[in-house]
Amino acid sequence: MSETPVIALSGVSRVYELGAERIQALRSVDLVVQKGELLAIIGPSGSGKSTLMNVIGALDTPSGGSYQIDGQAVSGLSDDQLAQVRNQKIGFVFQSFNLLPRQSALDNVALPLRYAGYSRAERRAKSERALRRVDLGDRLGHTPEQLSGGQKQRVAIARALVTEPAILLADEPTGALDQATGKEIIELFLRLNREEGVTVVLVTHDPQVAARTRRVVTLVDGRVVEDGPPKGGS
C-alpha cells in the first residue's frame, strides 16, 4: 500500500442550501481507491451517488473533509485548476452519452484534447488510437446520428480514455442501453481494467452491473454503509 491512491476521500461532506433548507447529500464519506481497481458505487436514488460522483469527478467541491486525486489535493483549487484536473485526471462516461451531435466520432473523442492544447495532428492520432481501443477504428467519420446506442457509448468511452486519465468515472453507463448492449459495454470496462489496468469507478443502481466488479461501495442517505466484494450474484 505504498503507492499513492488514485482517489482518497476522507471525511467528505457536501451540504446544499436550498433557501432555508439544508440538504446533507454526503456525510463524512471515506473512500480510498487504488490504481487498477474496478469498483461500483451503488445505492438507492437520493442516496448521494450522483453527488459523490460529481465530487470525485471534480465537477463539485466538498463542503468539508479532504479529497486527493492522484496525490493532488482538490479542495481549494480554483475553477481553472478544477477544469485542468477534469481534463487530465478524469474520464467521464455518462448515461446519455453526451456526444456533440453533429460532430464526427473522431472530433467528439478529440474534444478533451482541444482543451489540453494538443495540435490537430496529435489530436487525430490519439483519438484514432482511443477509438481503436473501443473497437470503433472503422467509424471515425460517423456522427452520433449514424451510430447505434452501444457504439455511441463506445465513442464516449474513447473520449474518456483519450487523455489517459487516472480514473474512468462512469455514471449509469448502461442506463440508456438494452440489456445485451449494456452487457457489452460492461465487458468493455472489464477488459480495459483487466488488460490495460485502467482504474474504473461505475456508479449504478443495477445490482447485475455491480456484481461484475470486485468491490462494491454502498451508499445510503449520504453515508457509506458497506464497502467490500460483491455479495451473492455470480
Binding site: 469527478g57 474534444l111 478533451p112
Partner: protein, 402 residues
C-alpha cells in the same frame, strides 16, 4: 486554447446550422449594407460638390442682394429694397483694383424658338467676362462683347445641347435668328462643350447681354454679381474692396452679401457633414437592431446547448474557454453578416455608379474597414451577455439539464 481553436469551434457551430446563422446575420447584413451605401453616397455627393466648386475657381466671389449676417451661403433675393443694379457692376468693373473680371448675372428662363421648333431654356444675362469667370470657353463664333451690353443688342450665345436640338449636326447656327419670347436674337457664338455641373447641363443655356436680359424679363435689377479676385491670396482684401465700393454707392448701407468659394465649400461641408451624420445614425440603428438579433439568438443557443456546455466543462473546458467560444461565435456571425453587407453594398454602389456616371460613388477601404469594425463591435456587444451566461453555468447543473 488558442484563438484559432475558438474560431474553428465557432465555424463548426455555424456549419451545423447554416440557415439559422444566415437569419441571425441578416440584421447586421442590412445594417452594414446601409452604412456602406449611405456613407458611400454621402461621400460621393460631397466629393462631387467640392470638385465642382474647385472647377469653378476658388477665388470667385458672388454678391447677392440682401444682408446676411451669418456666414455660409443662403442667397436671398427678395427681402431688400435696394437691389443690385448694373451700376453696381460698372462700379466694380471700373474701380475694383483687386478684381480680375466682374460680370452681372440676370437669371431667367424663356421660350426659345427657331421656326417651328420651340423649347424652354435657362437664360443667363451676363457681361463679356462671364465666360472666363466660370471657366467656360467659346467653341464657335464669338462671345458677348462690351458693345453688345452697351447697345442692348439682341445677340445670343448658345450651348451645344441647344445647337444639336435646334440645328442638328450639319447646319451652322452662327448668324441664324432665334426667338427668345417674341424678340428675335442673332446667334453669334456657341460655347465649348462642358457637360453637367451640379446636375445642370452647362451646354443647355442661352447667354445674352445682361441689358438685353433686363429687357426680356422686364426688370431693372440683376440677380447677382460675379467677381474674381486677382489671386487666391487676395480673396479677403477683394471682398473688403467689393464691400466698400458697394457700400459707397449706398451711402454706407450694407444691404448685400458677399460670398467667397470658401464660404460655399464650408457650407457644403457642413451640410454634407450633417447629412452623413444622420445617414450614419440611421445605419447605426439598423446595426443596433442587428446586434439585438444576434444577442437573442445567442441566448437561445446557450439555452439549447446547456448540455454541450456541461460536457465541455466536464472534459476540461475552463470558464474562459466557454466564454470565448460563445463570444467568438457571436463576433464571427456578426462579421460574416458585415462581409455580406459590404458585398451587397459594393454591388448596389456599382449599380448606382452605372446609372449615375457623374457621381464619384465607390467603396472606400476606409468605409469597409469601418463597417467591419462596427460589425465586430456589435458582435462583441451582443455576445458578452450570452457568453457570460454560458460560462457561468454550473457544470453539474448543465449536465443534468434536459
Amino acid at each position: 486554447m488558442s484563438l484559432f481553436e475558438h474560431l474553428s469551434i465557432a465555424f463548426d457551430s455555424i456549419r451545423n446550422s447554416p440557415v439559422r446563422t444566415f437569419l441571425t446575420t441578416l440584421g447586421v447584413l442590412i445594417g452594414v449594407f446601409a452604412v456602406i451605401l449611405l456613407v458611400g453616397l454621402g461621400d460621393a455627393v460631397q466629393t462631387y460638390v467640392l470638385d465642382t466648386f474647385a472647377g469653378v475657381g476658388s477665388n470667385l466671389l458672388q454678391v447677392h442682394a440682401g444682408r446676411q449676417e451669418t456666414r455660409g451661403f443662403q442667397p436671398s433675393s427678395g427681402n431688400s429694397r435696394n437691389k443690385l443694379s448694373l451700376r453696381d457692376y460698372e462700379a466694380l468693373d471700373k474701380r475694383g483694383l483687386l478684381l480680375d473680371g466682374v460680370s452681372p448675372v440676370v437669371l431667367g428662363s424663356s421660350e426659345l424658338r427657331l421656326g417651328d421648333l420651340r423649347r424652354n431654356v435657362v437664360v443667363f444675362g451676363v457681361g463679356p467676362r462671364y465666360l472666363e469667370l466660370r471657366n467656360l470657353a467659346i467653341g464657335r463664333g464669338r462671345f458677348l462683347e462690351p458693345e453688345d451690353l452697351d447697345g442692348r443688342r439682341r445677340v445670343v450665345v448658345i450651348g451645344e445641347t441647344i445647337v444639336g436640338e435646334l440645328f442638328g449636326d450639319d447646319k451652322s447656327p452662327l448668324g441664324a435668328t432665334v426667338y427668345l419670347g417674341s424678340t428675335p436674337y442673332r446667334v453669334v457664338g456657341v460655347t465649348q462643350k462642358k457637360g453637367k455641373t451640379f446636375g445642370f447641363d452647362m451646354d443647355d443655356l442661352a447667354l445674352i447681354p445682361a441689358t438685353s436680359a433686363q429687357d426680356l424679363f422686364d426688370i431693372e435689377t440683376i440677380t447677382h454679381l460675379l467677381a474674381r479676385a486677382k489671386d487666391k491670396n487676395t480673396v479677403e482684401p477683394a471682398i473688403e474692396e467689393v464691400g466698400e465700393l458697394l457700400a459707397d454707392r449706398r451711402g454706407g448701407t450694407i444691404d448685400f452679401t458677399i460670398y467667397s468659394q470658401d464660404d460655399m465649400m464650408e457650407m457644403v461641408n457642413r451640410i454634407m457633414g450633417t447629412l452623413k451624420f444622420f445617414l450614419g445614425a440611421i445605419a447605426s440603428i439598423s446595426l443596433l437592431v442587428g446586434g439585438i438579433g444576434i444577442m437573442n439568438i445567442m441566448l437561445v443557443s446557450v439555452k439549447e446547448r446547456t448540455r454541450e456546455i456541461g460536457v465541455r466543462r466536464a472534459v476540461g473546458a475552463r470558464w474562459r474557454d466557454i466564454l470565448l467560444q460563445f463570444l467568438v461565435e457571436a463576433v464571427v456571425v456578426s462579421v460574416l453578416g458585415g462581409l455580406a453587407g459590404v458585398a451587397l453594398g459594393a454591388v448596389v454602389i456599382r449599380i448606382v455608379a452605372h446609372f449615375q456616371p457623374d457621381l464619384p460613388v465607390g467603396l472606400s477601404l476606409e468605409n469597409v474597414v469601418m463597417a467591419l469594425g462596427f460589425s465586430a463591435a456589435v458582435g462583441i456587444a451582443a455576445g458578452v451577455v450570452p457568453a457570460m451566461r454560458a460560462a457561468d453555468l454550473d457544470p453539474v447543473e448543465a449536465l443534468r439539464y434536459e
